[in-house]
C-alpha cells in the first residue's frame, strides 16, 4: 500500500432535481464513510439540474471512491473535481455580534478591512455578512469572537471554474446534461 496523503478536494456534482436526491447523496457519504467538510446545493442555470459543491478530505483512493460512487447514483448527471483548476471559491456567512457604544467602531473597521458588510444594526448587536474564501471567513470569525458572537450561519463553499466555458473546461449544466448521453436510450 502506498503512503496515504490526505488533501481537501473541491468537487462539483450536477444532480437531477428529483425527490430524494439529496437523501441519496448524503446517505452514500455516510454509508461509505466519506469525510465531507462542507456541502451546498442549489439551482444551476438549467431547469431540472441542481448543482452541488462539496469539499471532501481524503487520500487519492478516498477521493476516487467519492467520485465514482457518487457518479453511480442514477440521478447524478456529472461530477468534476475542480481542485486542480483555476476556480473562484466562495463562502457566505452571517454573523451576529454583540456590540456596545465602545466596540461598534472597532467592529466596523474590521468589516471594512474584510470587505464584509453590515446588514442589520440595533443598539446591542450587528449582523455582518461576509462573502469570501473560506480562510478569510475563518479569520474574520476569529477576530469577531473577541466581541462575543451571538449567532452564526455559514453556507459552505461554492465553486466555479474561471474563464469561458467555450474554452474546453465546460462545467455548465447544459453541457453536462447533453453529454450525459443517457437521453433517449432505446431500452
Amino acid at each position: 500500500m502506498t503512503a496515504t496523503q490526505t488533501k481537501s478536494h473541491t468537487i462539483i456534482a450536477w444532480l437531477e432535481d428529483k425527490p430524494g436526491v439529496l437523501n441519496r447523496v448524503t446517505g452514500l457519504f455516510s454509508r461509505r464513510n466519506f469525510n465531507i467538510e462542507s456541502l451546498t446545493v442549489g439551482h444551476s442555470e438549467v431547469k431540472g439540474i441542481s448543482r452541488m459543491t462539496f469539499v471532501a478530505r481524503g487520500d487519492e483512493r478516498d477521493l476516487q471512491q467519492v467520485e465514482t460512487q457518487l457518479d453511480k447514483l442514477i440521478n447524478v448527471v456529472h461530477i468534476a473535481d475542480v481542485s486542480q483548476e483555476p476556480t473562484v471559491v466562495r463562502e457566505m456567512a452571517l454573523i451576529k455580534v454583540a456590540t456596545s457604544g465602545q466596540t461598534r467602531g472597532e467592529i466596523m473597521q474590521l468589516v471594512s478591512i474584510y470587505h464584509a458588510s453590515v446588514v442589520d444594526v440595533d443598539m446591542t448587536s450587528l449582523i455582518i455578512q461576509i462573502v469570501a474564501p473560506e480562510d478569510r471567513v475563518d479569520s474574520l470569525i476569529k477576530l469577531l469572537d473577541n466581541y462575543g458572537i451571538e449567532e452564526m450561519v455559514r453556507t459552505g463553499q461554492v465553486a466555479m471554474v474561471r474563464g469561458s466555458s467555450r474554452h474546453g473546461h465546460s462545467h455548465s449544466a447544459a453541457t453536462v446534461a447533453a453529454n450525459g448521453n443517457g437521453n433517449g436510450h432505446h431500452a
Binding site: 430524494g20 453511480k72 448521453n181
Partner: protein, 568 residues
C-alpha cells in the same frame, strides 16, 4: 390508445411489455388494487404466492440468476415492504437484476404514520441500485420502464418501485414508453481503449507466473468461451471467485478452483505467488483477498470491471480496465501470444498434489461427513449436470469445494451478503425460470429453518426441487469460529431441530433421513427417482470443520490447512 387504464393495469401491462412471466408476491391492503387487476392478465403473468416476503425477494433473485432475466417480486406497504429488504440487499451485493413493486399508503396519508406505512424508499436506498416513490400516475409508465432498464443494464441490481394505492386506482391513457430519459446513467458496454488493451496484452505476454481471477461478471457478459480461449491460448491458470464458480469448468486442467478464506490451498498459493493477475468481472472482496495489504504481493494486478467504482476500491491496481468482460476479452485475445509457462504450471501442480480435497475424503473413513455427500451428489447428477442452490455456512463452502461446477449459472449462492435462508426460496425462483433443470437445494439445518415455510410454495407450484439438509445440529460455521477463535465456547450455536422428514411430510413432501455413509448415494437416487420434491436429512458428523481456512483479517498465505490423509 384512448381507452383509460388503471395504475394496476398499467403495472401488469408494463410487466408484459418487459416479458415478465412470473411474479413472486404476497398481497395486502395497499397493493390490493393491483392484485385485483391481475385477473385480467392472469394468462401472461403467473403470480406465485409466497409465505413471507423475504421469500418473494429471494425467489425473484434465484429466478434472475438462473435465467439471466429480471426477477420480479411484489409486496404491500409497511411490513410487506420491509420484509423484502434482506432479499434486496442480497441481490444488491451480488448484482442480481430484480424489480420489486410495493404498494404504499395513499398520497393523502403519506407521512401521517398511518397503518402499514413505512418509508421503503428511504429504507431501501442503500440496498438498491435505484428506487422510486410514485405518487402521480403520470410518472408510473416511465418509472416502470426505467426500473427494468436500470435493473438489467450495466452492473445489474435491484430496483424498487413504491406506488401509492391511489396511483394504482387512478387511470390514464397508457402507452408503454419506447425509450428512457436518464441523463445520469451511462450503462454502455465499453470496449477499453486500444492503448489499455495493448498494455494488458504486454503484461500478460511478459508474465512468468500469470493467473486469471474470473468472477460472475464473466457469466453476466456471456464471455465464458472467450475466457477459456484466453486461458488455453496462453496457458494461464484460472481461479474464480465464489460467485464466479461455473464461469470456468472446475474440471479443466487449468482450473485452480476458487480462492480466498476457504479456497483450495494451491489456489491461494498461486494467487499469492503470481506476478501478473488478470482479474475480470470479480470485485475482489475481502473473502477472496484476505487482508488487502497482503494479497498477491508480487503481482501487477489488472482489474477488468464495467463498474468504475470497483477500480482500486480495495486493492492497489496496476492497470484498471473499465470495460465489458466480453468486449475486453475479444479485443485482448488476438494480442495475447501463445505461451506454455511450464515452470509455473509445474509449481502449481506440485502445490496441488500436496494437500487437496482428496485428503479429507480419504481421512474420514467411517463417519458421514458433508464433503462426501457433495461428491456423491456430483456423481449422481451425471457429474454436476444440475443447478445447486446453497445457503450460507459450512455446507456452502463444502459444496463449492467438492462439487465440481462445469456450467455457468449452475451454482446460485448468496456470496456477498451471506444470507442464511436464501437457498430454498432462491431455488423456487430458479426452478420457475428453468422448469426442466434438475434443481438441488443444499442448506444447513440452521439456515433452512429461516425460510422453511416456503415448502408450501414448493407444493403449491408443484416444483420437483430436491432438498439436501446438511444437519450437524449447530450453526456450523459460527460454531467453527467458536472452535478456532473463542476457545470452543459454543454460545448460541447448538440447535434444537425438528424432525425435518416429518416437517416435509406435513407439507406432503416425501423425505428420508440419512445417517450412514453407505446410504448416501442410494438416498440421492431415491430423491432423483421420485417425481416431485424430496427432502434428504443428512445427519452428518457434528464437529467437522471447513479447511483450508484463513482467519478474518489475515493473509491468505497464513492458511489453516487440512490434515494429511492417513497413509494406508
Amino acid at each position: 390508445m384512448s381507452e383509460l387504464k388503471t395504475g394496476g393495469q398499467i403495472i401488469w401491462e408494463s410487466l408484459i411489455h418487459e416479458g415478465v412471466e412470473v411474479v413472486f408476491g404476497l398481497p395486502g391492503g395497499t397493493i390490493l388494487p393491483t392484485y385485483d387487476d391481475l385477473y385480467k392478465y392472469n394468462y401472461p403473468v403467473h403470480h406465485v404466492l409466497v409465505t413471507h416476503e423475504q421469500g418473494a425477494a429471494h425467489m425473484a433473485d434465484g429466478y434472475a440468476r438462473a435465467t439471466g432475466r429480471v426477477g420480479v417480486c411484489m409486496a404491500t406497504s409497511g411490513p410487506g415492504a420491509t420484509n423484502l429488504v434482506t432479499g434486496l440487499a442480497t441481490a444488491f451485493m451480488d448484482s442480481t437484476p430484480v424489480v420489486a413493486i410495493t404498494g404504499q399508503v395513499p398520497k393523502t396519508l403519506l407521512g401521517r404514520d398511518g397503518f402499514q406505512e413505512a418509508d421503503i424508499r428511504a429504507i431501501s436506498m442503500p440496498v438498491t441500485k435505484h428506487n422510486y416513490l410514485i405518487t402521480d400516475i403520470r410518472d408510473l409508465p416511465a418509472a416502470l420502464k426505467e426500473a427494468f432498464y436500470i435493473a438489467r443494464t450495466g452492473r445489474p441490481g435491484p430496483v424498487l418501485v413504491d406506488i401509492t394505492k391511489c396511483v394504482q386506482q387512478d387511470s390514464m391513457e397508457f402507452t408503454y414508453p419506447a425509450t428512457v430519459n436518464l441523463p445520469g446513467y451511462r450503462p454502455n458496454r465499453l470496449t477499453p481503449d486500444a492503448a489499455v488493451i495493448d498494455r494488458v496484452a504486454r503484461l500478460l505476454n511478459e508474465a512468468q507466473r500469470p493467473v486469471i481471477v474470473a468472477g460472475q461478471g464473466v457469466s453476466m457478459a456471456k464471455a465464458e468461451v472467450e475466457l477459456r480461449q484466453l486461458a488455453e491460448k496462453a496457458n494461464i491458470p484460472v481461479a474464480t471467485s465464489l460467485l464466479g464458480v461455473g464461469t470456468f469448468p472446475a474440471t479443466h486442467p487449468l482450473s485452480l478452483s476458487w480462492g480466498g478464506m476457504h479456497g483450495e490451498a494451491y489456489c491461494n498459493y498461486a494467487l499469492q505467488e503470481c506476478d501478473v493477475m488478470f482479474a475480470i468481472g470479480a470485485r475482489l472482496d475481502d473473502r477472496l483477498t484476505g487482508a488487502f495489504s497482503t494479497f498477491a504481493p508480487k503481482a501487477r494486478i489488472i482489474h477488468v470491471d464495467l463498474d468504475p467504482a470497483e477500480m482500486g476500491k480495495n486493492l492497489t491496481i496496476d492497470t484498471p480496465v473499465v470495460g465489458d468482460a466480453l468486449l475486453t476479452l475479444r479485443a485482448l485475445l488476438p494480442q495475447v501470444e501463445p505461451n506454455e509457462h511450464p515452470a509455473w504450471l509445474g509449481q502449481i501442480s506440485e502445490w496441488r498434489s500436496d494437500t487437496t480435497e482428496r485428503d479429507i475424503l480419504a481421512q474420514e473413513t467411517d463417519e458421514l461427513v458433508a464433503p462426501y455427500v457433495m461428491r456423491q451428489l456430483w456423481h449422481a447428477t451425471n457429474q454436476g449436470d444440475c443447478t445447486v442452490v446453497t445457503d450460507v455456512g459450512q455446507h456452502q463452502m463444502w459444496e463449492a469445494q467438492y462439487f465440481y461446477h462445469t456450467k455457468p449459472r449452475s451454482l446460485l449462492t448468496s456470496g456477498g451478503l451471506g444470507t442464511m435462508g436464501y437457498a430454498l426460496p432462491a431455488a423456487i425462483g430458479a426452478q420457475m425460470g428453468r422448469p426442466q433443470e434438475e434443481m438441488w437445494v443444499i442448506a444447513g439445518d440452521g439456515g433452512f429453518q429461516m425460510t422453511m415455510p416456503e415448502l408450501s410454495t414448493v407444493m403449491q407450484e408443484r416444483l420437483p426441487i430436491k432438498i439436501a439438509i446438511i444437519n450437524n445440529g449447530y450453526l456450523g460455521m459460527v460454531r467453527q469460529w467458536q472452535d478456532v477463535f473463542y476457545n470452543k465456547r459454543y454460545v448460541g450455536t447448538p440447535l434444537f431441530n425438528p424432525d425435518f422428514v416429518k416437517v416435509a411430510e406435513a407439507y406432503g413432501i416425501p423425505g428420508r433421513a440419512v445417517t450412514r455413509k453407505e446410504d448416501v448415494f442410494d438416498a440421492i437416487r431415491q430423491a432423483q427417482n421420485t417425481a416431485g420434491p424430496f427432502l434428504l436429512d443428512f445427519q452428518v458428523e457434528e464437529f467437522t470443520n471447513v479447511y483450508p481456512m484463513v482467519a478474518p483479517g489475515k493473509s491468505n498465505a497464513d492458511m489453516i490447512r487440512r490434515g494429511r490423509p492417513v497413509e494406508n
